[in-house]
């Protein structure tokens, strides 16, 4: 069966520090991968998605970037965190092909001080 792992679960970082959140998927090949930010009262906002190694699409302009160095690994990064980067970040995967449901990780709660 397929599983998705996301870590760390919580992270407290000072303003201006770098960030690296990691997500890996097991039990499937060539998945689509997604990074979301979940804000209270605002639902889930898609940040990045990837259909293959090295292929990243950014949905919103921001201080963050994403990379996919391996087929089942998706990384969310920042060189210098801002206070506004605080939030709950979710990674998700789906099978290729149309109208496939997405499956989510447990999320990372990021607090910027």
């Amino acid at each position: 069966s397929q599983t998705i792992h996301q870590w760390p679960a919580t992270l407290v970082q000072p303003v201006g520090s770098p960030l690296s959140l990691e997500c890996t998927v097991e039990g499937t090949s060539n998945p689509n991968l997604y990074w979301y930010r979940q804000a209270a009262g605002r639902g889930l906002q898609l940040l990045f998605y990837s259909v293959g190694i090295g292929q990243i699409s950014s949905e919103v302009p921001q201080n963050l970037s994403a990379s996919r160095p391996q087929d089942r690994q998706f990384i969310l990064s920042s060189k210098k965190l801002l206070l506004s980067d605080s939030g709950f970040y979710l990674c998700a995967w789906s099978r290729r092909g149309g109208n496939q449901p997405q499956h989510f990780g447990d999320g990372t709660r990021l607090s910027i001080l």
Partner: protein
């Protein structure tokens, strides 16, 4: 533009009462619609999708193209149904557009 609207932030009912969580969408083509649920301290998970036409945990949702709605319904709410519910739309890409969510509280 693709958009999903969930007009209620919070819906409170008593156990055994009927529940309807509203979802309206804006999309010019034929969308695929989903309901996701997040129980306390659990990950966001798929509840149901309209193409499956199935009932999960007593919940059903019918796509009404005329009203562009995909409301989630359950005839008799249970306390364990208390959770955050998100409606989501997928158009002609593999990207999901989520609504802002509705928190369902079921009181004993």
């Amino acid at each position: 533009a693709q958009r999903v609207t969930q007009p209620e932030k919070l819906l409170s009912v008593f156990k055994g009462a009927p529940v309807e969580l509203k979802c309206n969408y804006s999309y010019s083509g034929s969308p695929e619609l989903f309901w996701y649920v997040q129980y306390s301290r659990q990950r966001l998970q798929l509840l149901l999708r309209h193409i499956s036409r199935e009932s999960i945990k007593g919940f059903t949702a019918d796509l009404n193209k005329g009203e562009t709605s995909f409301h989630l319904k359950k005839p008799f709410a249970q306390e364990e149904d208390s959770a955050m519910y998100y409606c989501a739309l997928m158009g002609n890409t593999d990207k999901l557009i989520f609504g802002t969510g509705t928190r369902l509280q079921v009181f004993p």
